[in-house]
Symmetry: C2
Subunit: 183 residues, 2 copies
């Protein structure tokens, strides 16, 4: 509930892996000293089903790195393919220089358990807290726990994008179902 | 060159991230005490461009875990969607019980720098060595360096699969190109 209108709906934490395991391009928001920021991120993976743990690389060349390390909090937001142009723009500039939310018309919503904002236009938002920093210095690798997850019920069967380098993205195609015992 | 016939072609290590960053379902081969094995894996991410470093989760419930930890070597093989049924079968049984290569008709080729085999039917094979085990005990998380990479030139524009849980996979759809400064 935000402002009396339901715009995002809670997602069971046990289902979070189904969003990140397929490797979609994501965005990551942080908040530091009163300023929110957002970056584009493709280097992430699931680590544990439940509670959902995620690993991600946030380069120390990124403005978001200091905010993430200092506050221990972020939101991983997953855009559908219609946001692709904005996702690239977010990835091509730095929060050192501009307010990317304003510059690219991304709306924010308050998160429930962390300070960084949700991104309204994304079909999923995962509130995360850092749980392990042992590999940060050597690899910029953070281990996060997803503490709250939201989806936008208005975006049904969203198609995500997968980065192949230099602005080339593959959009989700057909879904196939195979008999499997794998979770 | 294998047996005098070129069947796979070397890929520049600088391009490896373009294969793994999009989050395809992969297979992982190991070799231990004279026995090769293969498992299905979706929890992996890039860590560094070049030399390419990769993080992956190999559960200690998997037969491959002991082989990987003991030998420090594996091959990450990437199947196109036409192998999806075999990929699921590989993921639904254990190398403790059967020889999965024989059971599912997967051919092997010798790797150049590691003992585990390449998988002939996969369009890409990445020879890897473990470089960091600090997060193995707590998260089953291995940091690997890709030391040699191969692609099958006969498989052009292979479509990969992305796992959404319980045997549901999304196949690569259309490619879009956007102007970007991101590598």
């Amino acid at each position: 509930m935000f402002g009396g209108v339901i715009v995002v709906k809670e997602l069971a934490l046990s289902k979070v892996y189904q969003l990140l395991e397929p490797g979609p391009v994501a965005m990551l928001t942080t908040a530091h000293k009163g300023c929110a920021n957002v970056m584009t991120m493709s280097w992430h993976m699931m680590v544990e089903f439940e509670p959902p743990q995620v690993a991600c690389i946030v380069s120390n060349a990124n403005h978001s790195f200091a905010a993430l390390r200092a506050t221990g909090e972020c939101v991983i937001a997953i855009p559908a393919w219609r946001l692709a142009a904005k996702v690239v723009k977010v990835g091509n500039c730095s929060g050192r220089d501009i307010d990317k939310f304003a510059a690219f018309g991304l709306s924010t919503l308050p998160a429930a358990r962390v300070a960084p904002p949700l991104i309204r236009e994304c079909f999923a938002n995962l509130e995360c807290k850092i749980t392990d920093k042992r590999l940060v210095n050597k690899y910029n690798l953070f281990i996060l726990e997803v503490v709250k997850a939201w989806i936008d019920p208005a975006q049904r069967k969203p198609k995500t994008i997968h980065h192949h380098g230099y602005g080339t993205f593959v959009v989700d195609g057909p879904t196939i179902k195979l008999r499997s015992r794998m979770r």
